[in-house]
Subunit: 116 residues, 2 copies
DNA sequence: TTATCATATCGACAGTTGTCGATTCGTTAA
DNA sequence: TTAACGAATCGACAACTGTCGATATGATAA
């Protein structure tokens, strides 16, 4: 079993950042998700999936799209999956990736200062 | 002049992540802001300022609050100021920090998938 | 001025991260 | 079974980061 296909190991704390001081545990968890997103290549991977007309992108297309080698792209995709931000689906020999909308909504809720 | 007191060197791109593929430049900028936030100690610093009744916290209080040495806290505060996420105000010999609400709102707007 | 105190900067170190080439794994087709 | 191919993993390396102690800076008070 790949770690990539297991449920997210990092959970998002439930209360918005602005309501109360974060516990060390919540801070670690939230930092984990943000770190997964805090890379230019990974941000572009995410935006490419979002912008795709079919809402999904084949792994085989990414190396050309972000100008990185296959192993590098695979590494970045693994980090995004591990953080729960995107989902992976094996279809034949190809791997397809979609956005985990719920995860992004949850992240946005935590960061939304209007909810504080 | 301190780099800390200068305007943010990293700007946030204006269109939500979900609307179109990020340019390399926009991805670099957004990653810079996210990286500033993607650390447990810095997240706790931010949440402590948010949760403060007076909406501001003296630098002198942070080392005890986050269990880090003064030089370490100063380093983290510098990163948050440089990213434009918090603001610094010198008052006598003390430095006081507040949240840059506009910056957080802007970040949330970029990450908000509902706008895509 | 001088002393004191809060905070920023410096130098060093260990741990982490992004990248790549090479290899392995898994699926499909012959 | 074998060959071909997409994708994950491995090993290595340079670059970056968090942490600390020590020092420097800047402001206030005596």
């Amino acid at each position: 079993m790949f770690i990539m296909t297991s449920p997210p190991t990092v959970s998002l704390c439930c209360s918005p950042l602005a309501t109360a001081p974060l516990s060390e545990q919540d801070a670690d968890d939230l930092a984990g998700v943000l770190r997964a997103l805090a890379d230019p290549v990974r941000l572009r991977l995410v935006s490419l999936i979002y912008a795709s007309a079919s809402d999904e992108v084949c792994a085989c297309d990414f190396p050309a799209l972000v100008d990185r080698k296959q192993s590098t792209v695979s590494h970045h995709l693994s980090q995004l999956v591990k953080a729960g931000l995107i989902n992976r689906e094996q279809r034949g020999k190809w791997a397809w990736f979609t956005i985990d909308e719920a995860r992004f909504a949850s992240l946005c809720r935590v960061l939304d200062t209007r909810c504080g």
